[in-house]
């Protein structure tokens, strides 16, 4: 069932994002300028022409503004007839004279309006679309679609089956890149298509009851390593983003990175039962006749044509299937079960570091395993909580649509901390005769396999060198479908002194939040339990701890994000512990220590649950 699918989406945006600000610099704002409208439509025509030239069909996402433009409507109808393009409806591109007059605001991101305005805008836009075309669309989208918005659209316009619903890891990093002038945050979602839950659109539905009724696709297919560390807008299947990142040769205008990125996405079929996906969605503002950033128009146009050409070549070779969004939704529904995870074993294809990450996403969690840190978990989002998190004006989260993390190594440090305290990470330390080594410093690579319903990452063994003892250790990380568990096995393959005994400390340092800044940890409960015996403490930044030999589990309940996270171990000598943090290091730690000998194998499970 080997299939690589691409969705190519174009939108006739009569006032392209960026274009007004950039080309109009030094002029008074006028979104009705004739030159702007003409140029925008020309760009849309060019994009359509390029797709069709290389034998690809598109999804035309009409914007509200374009519904008032006869030529744009005419082109959509013609191309639907001639090329099989889908006529869909975008919730991007709202700004136009008509919109400004009615809503009297410069807001343009649908997810950030009040719920009342969201409904009214959706009704206006869908109503206008119906007036023009005589039917309701099957696909829609924006850069983000919050759960309340999706639920409303699905309820009022049940024909909708597909939507662009998130930009992967566009949170504080994008904010910083835009000089802190870009107030919209949407970290923590899936990177590839998913079925959003009714409760939180980032978190996939676990069953029919949670199913929002649409298939969500991400805005662009993004580099799962470069975008995690750097600016999301430089590293995606968006040729002009690659130019924005200056990832091209200025002499030859070559950008192998764009093709490497597409090819690595194709390669992900190995981890997803033969299915792989790509999405390209370039707004017209990026093909500005005045050039964009350092790139002249000729380079912008060339890169767009090259992108289409490459997809076209893959199609000709039988390696790609182009679909409209609605076609894709049907395909996805038929091939996907709710609990089937999305997996990506991803390597660095840009910096030359050979670093490797593994991303895992299912209805219970999104996790990132970093092989360059010995298989440590460096990002963890507890989807099991299905956190209801309304966004927009009138809610507690006007601009912050991110799904909260428990672990985020870039925002809340990972293994390395600068002066004192600890950063968020799930790793292990080995201790012998007063020496201690963290697996975060053991760089390795992983191999993927699937055993029944379990996805397994088998890491290459690493050597831990103490003064007079060398331990060869292998980590195996398993994700069992539907279990909401991550199992980590440590296999002691060899010890230079077979009689030696080493202490292993399996730990998780965590907190909660969506940004770099600490949230109030007060009220988090930490506990250890053995049979009926429970010891617990309520977080007060007092640096306390609890230790319990033979603990069945250690647990943290984070009421702020309705999440419970726990660990358990199968080691006979295991001692469970929890640690409270302090003001300078507002974290908590869950862990187990155990004694291990040569050839022994111990396992630890990390479980995520909803806590009401």
């Amino acid at each position: 069932m080997d299939k690589f699918i691409v969705n190519i989406i174009h939108r006739p945006e009569m006032v392209p994002e960026y274009a007004e600000k950039v080309t109009g610099h030094g002029k008074e704002e006028d979104i009705g300028r004739k030159a702007l409208l003409t140029e925008s439509l020309d760009i849309f025509k060019f994009q359509q022409e390029m797709a069709h030239k290389y034998g690809l069909k598109t999804t035309i996402q009409m914007t509200y503004a374009s519904l008032f433009n006869e030529e744009a409507v005419q082109i959509a109808k013609e191309h639907h007839e001639k090329y099989g393009d889908e006529i869909a409806l975008s919730l991007l591109g709202l700004p136009c004279t008509e919109f400004r007059e009615k809503y009297k605001t410069k807001d343009f991101c649908i997810w950030m309006f009040s719920m009342e305005d969201k409904k009214s805008i959706v009704d206006d836009v869908f109503g206008k679309f119906y007036d023009i075309f005589g039917f309701y669309p099957e696909s829609t989208g924006s850069y983000y679609m919050d759960a309340d918005l999706i639920n409303y659209v699905k309820e009022a316009y049940p024909s909708v089956k597909c939507a662009v619903a998130t930009c992967w890891e566009e949170g504080p990093k994008a904010y910083h890149t835009c000089n802190n002038s870009w107030y919209t945050f949407m970290d923590g979602g899936p990177w590839n298509p998913w079925i959003p839950s009714k409760q939180n659109s980032h978190a996939p539905a676990a069953n029919e009851a949670e199913d929002s009724g649409i298939v969500a696709i991400p805005h662009l297919s993004r580099d799962l390593l470069a975008c995690y560390d750097g600016n999301g807008s430089n590293f995606g299947t968006h040729p002009q983003n690659v130019l924005r990142g200056m990832i091209y040769d200025t002499e030859t205008w070559d950008y192998p990175y764009l093709y490497n990125l597409i090819d690595q996405y194709r390669d992900l079929e190995k981890y997803n039962n033969g299915y792989a996906y790509n999405m390209m969605f370039v707004g017209p503002g990026w093909l500005n006749k005045m050039g964009r950033w350092e790139a002249p128009y000729e380079l912008l146009a060339k890169s767009y044509e090259d992108g289409m050409k490459y997809y076209g070549e893959l199609k000709e070779q039988g390696k790609l299937t182009d679909m409209t969004m609605a076609e894709f939704a049907d395909y996805y529904r038929q091939k996907k079960t709710y609990t089937e995870p999305e997996c990506a074993l991803w390597r660095d294809i840009l910096y030359g570091s050979d670093k490797q990450l593994f991303w895992y996403c299912d209805p219970y969690m999104r996790a990132c395993v970093n092989m360059d840190q010995g298989g440590a978990i460096v990002d963890l989002r507890p989807y099991a909580a299905k956190l209801e998190w309304p966004v927009g004006i009138g809610t507690k989260h006007v601009t912050d649509a991110s799904y909260p993390f428990l672990i985020q190594e870039k925002y809340r440090a990972g293994y390395f901390t600068h002066y004192a305290g600890e950063g968020t990470v799930r790793s292990a330390k080995l201790k012998y005769n007063g020496e201690e080594v963290d697996l975060c410093l053991c760089r390795t690579k992983a191999h993927f396999s699937q055993e029944g319903n379990t996805r397994v990452l088998t890491l290459d063994p690493v050597d831990i060198e103490f003064y007079d003892l060398t331990v060869k250790l292998q980590s195996v990380i398993s994700f069992e479908e539907g279990s909401s568990d991550i199992k980590i096995e440590r296999r002691i393959l060899e010890m230079s002194n077979p009689e030696a005994q080493v202490e292993i400390n399996e730990y998780m340092v965590a907190c909660y939040g969506t940004t770099e800044y600490s949230e109030d940890m007060t009220g988090i409960t930490l506990s250890a339990k053995k049979g009926e015996e429970v010891q617990s403490l309520s977080y007060e930044y007092k640096c306390r701890d609890i230790e319990m030999a033979g603990a069945d589990e250690v647990r943290a309940i984070v009421p702020q994000i309705e999440t419970a996270v726990s660990m358990r171990s199968n080691a006979e000598t295991a001692v469970g512990y929890v640690k409270e943090g302090y003001a300078f290091s507002p974290m908590f730690t869950l862990g187990y220590t155990a004694q291990v000998k040569d050839k022994e194998v111990i396992a630890t499970w990390l479980k995520l649950e909803k806590a009401n």
């Binding site: 200056m246 990832i247 390669d267 050039g291 950033w293 660095d348 050979d354 690579k445």
Partner: protein
């Protein structure tokens, strides 16, 4: 000096780019230089282009075409 404007392209500040910050520079016609409003960088077009080549140092594999994506 008169107020600054935009150059023919939207050159970003190479120094800020290196700290993942996209800031368009402004152009001073009297001195024929671009300058950054956030940091202290200033330079003519030639200097900007040179520095833009420099910022690419981080992309060690920029010219490489990969055919293998795992380490199996």
């Amino acid at each position: 000096m008169a107020q600054a404007g935009k150059g023919k392209l939207n050159y970003r500040c190479p120094s800020c780019f290196m700290r993942d910050l996209d800031i368009d520079m402004f152009y001073q016609k009297e001195t024929d230089e671009f300058y950054c409003i956030r940091c202290q960088y200033r330079g003519n077009e030639k200097d900007v282009l040179e520095k833009n080549e420099m910022v690419r140092f981080r992309y060690g594999a920029m010219a490489k075409r990969y055919t293998k994506f795992d380490f199996d």
